[in-house]
Amino acid sequence: MIDLSTFLKEMISLPGLSGYESPVREPIARTWQPLVDELSVSKLGSLHGLRRANVKGDHHSVLIATHMDAIGLMVAGLDDGLLRVMSIGGLDLRILVGQMVTVHGKRELPGILQMIPDRLQDKSKAGSPPGITDLFIDTGLPINEVSDLVKLGDLVSFATPPQEMSGGALAGHSLDNRASVAALTLCLEEIRKFNLAWDVWAVATTQEEETLVGARTSAYEIKPDIAVVVDVTFAKGPGVTDYHTFAAGKGPTIGVGSNMHPALGKYFKTLADEMDLPYAMEYMPKSSGTDAMAIQVSEEGIPCAVLGIPLRYMHTPLEMVVLKDIQRTGRLLARFITQLETDTMEKIFGERKA
């Protein structure tokens, strides 16, 4: 039995920044190993877990994609003993100043993200948030030792430790998207005792925060009939509109929009209703901002569904999620998979996809 909180806390204590996912791939692989029939790593580092169908002959396959990479920073220059940085993934620059980070140099070094004090900077910039080139990292080391230990391209990850909050919530960095990896893991555990009519590919993708290249190439390699992408979505909070955000603790969202196949969204909605599982419909008219963007247009086209786990303070070093939402997402995924039958493609999409 996987303990959600323990597993998730382990994952969000590790770096695994986009393009450099191996530190977090290791515990995911270890956890998935007993839950799948085959485990492999793609050419670009995505983790592929295959649960084989228990039927002979031709059968369909579904890909469940959760990206495992995290946002962070990279050392882009040494400047008088301080480190200049470039972001990996989209960072919310307004909240970076004053954060503790870990610089992955020759050895791990604690660092503080800082910028010029407001009173000393150019008047035109006073009071405004920094640009990425305004930021630097102070490791406390003297100039000559910094250049011995740190070089261009070294990674910088957030050092925020996981924090269990009241109300069954968990806070920490990289919950985007390790929360979804956890949901998929719970799903794999739940479907273990079921016979399956479809092959199930559980995939922890790489570089979603940068180019979606992990999902794009894994989808090409696996060529699934349909794909389900699980990623975090914006949780409700003061000052944001109701239609852009979704209450944390009230279940996953089911994506609707041009990035998702409408029939699949409808199918998930029916499943959630049957299960009496709380959920919200999330309308994403343009694109979902997830791996589905790459998977949908892979090969000859792959119908996608997108599930969202509401997350507070996205793309900051301290994100927050309600564990119950992760469990519900895992259950919904498991229900979806165990209900798949030989003729489900026809049932969902009609004759056209037969």
Binding site: M74, A76, L152, T211, S218
Partner: protein, 332 residues
């Protein structure tokens, strides 16, 4: 090397119209190639060698197109309105000269500005080709041209309108010329339409289906007065790309390049580019994914009609490429 760079730079080949530069490169590589192929989009693929045991199919790509202009409208007064092919920055346009593929020459200028401290947009600019009506105008809608500025030799440093990316084309040609033997199946790609969104390399990578990719392209520098934060400098060696704003190079490829350069004492520097990308981006995303890296030629004033590179950096890049593809590859 310098003569080769000059020869390649002086040929017109804006994105989508690479015929002339392709023919010139074809002529250069023919003596060293096993086979040469032009694909439906106009990419030039030059194959050399067979995969032997432990060998890989390696794609080495340099785009051969350059930025340019395209006629969008000819006014009643004969002035030519134009759009850009690739990122022709508006601040480099005023008083530039252009050479159209049909031989017509013209000068760029712009409508008067209220405020001379502001840069005119491309929509406010026009090309004067000496015409006074659409009828006597020697260019029409859709005609394309490139910036015109003579090649300049400043010693080890040279300037031209198309160092991006003919300097890299020269590196590939020179590598092919000097290559003695390799355990790999090598495909040298001279790609089209990089400047308008990295297109040629998309289809070429798909067709070639490589095990490993290396792009060669120019990069910016941080060694000019008050330059933006960047560690790369002219004359400091081949730049091994760690990342740019479009992609993250495969860390295994970066390590392989860095260690190869260190072991062979080839002048090199590490590159992080905040703005821009190369063919490497699309090679990496091809099919089920390709471990990909890039070697960059440090270049000042990129996308201006006077781009400056240091020939020593090109030579270092050739040496590094030769070492990389001349022996077995162990990615770790």
């Amino acid at each position: 090397m310098k003569e080769l760079i000059q020869k390649l730079c002086e040929i017109s080949g804006p994105s989508g119209y690479e015929n002339n530069i392709r023919e010139a490169i074809k002529k250069e590589v023919t003596p060293y190639a096993d086979s040469i192929e032009v694909d439906p989009l106009g990419n030039l693929m030059v194959r050399k060698g067979k995969k032997t045991e432990g060998g890989l199919r390696i794609l080495i790509s340099a785009h051969m197109d350059e930025i340019g202009v395209i006629v969008t409208h000819v006014e009643k007064t004969g002035f030519v309105r134009f759009g850009n092919l690739g990122a022709a920055f508006p601040w480099y346009l005023p008083a530039s000269r252009v050479l159209f593929l049909n031989g017509t020459r013209g000068v760029i200028n712009s409508e008067p500005r209220e405020d001379n401290t502001k840069v005119s947009t491309i929509d406010q600019s026009y090309i004067d080709v000496g015409a006074s009506s659409p009828e006597d105008c020697p260019v029409k809608i859709g005609d394309v041209g490139v910036f015109e500025r003579p090649f300049m030799d400043m010693g080890t440093r040279v300037a031209s309108k198309a160092m991006d990316n003919r300097s890299s084309c020269a590196v590939l040609i020179e590598t092919l010329r000097q290559l003695k033997k390799s355990p790999h199946e090598l495909v040298f790609l001279f790609s089209v339409q990089e400047e308008v969104g990295i297109r040629g390399a998309v289809t070429a990578s798909y067709a070639i289906d490589p095990d490993l990719g290396i792009a060669v392209d120019v990069t910016s520098v941080g060694d000019t007065p008050s330059a933006k934060q960047m560690e790369v400098g002219l004359g400091k060696g081949a730049a091994i790309k760690i990342r740019d704003s479009g992609m993250l190079c495969d860390p295994r490829v970066v390590r392989w390049m860095r260690e190869t350069a260190e072991k062979a004492s080839i002048p090199h520097q590490m590159e992080i580019l905040r703005q821009g990308s190369t063919d490497a981006y699309v090679i990496q995303t091809s099919r089920s994914g390709v471990p990909t890296g890039a070697i960059s030629i440090p270049c000042r004033y990129v996308h201006s009609p006077s781009e400056v590179v240091d020939v020593k950096d090109l030579e270092s890049s050739v040496q590094l490429l030769l070492k990389l593809i001349g022996g077995p590859v162990q990615l770790k």
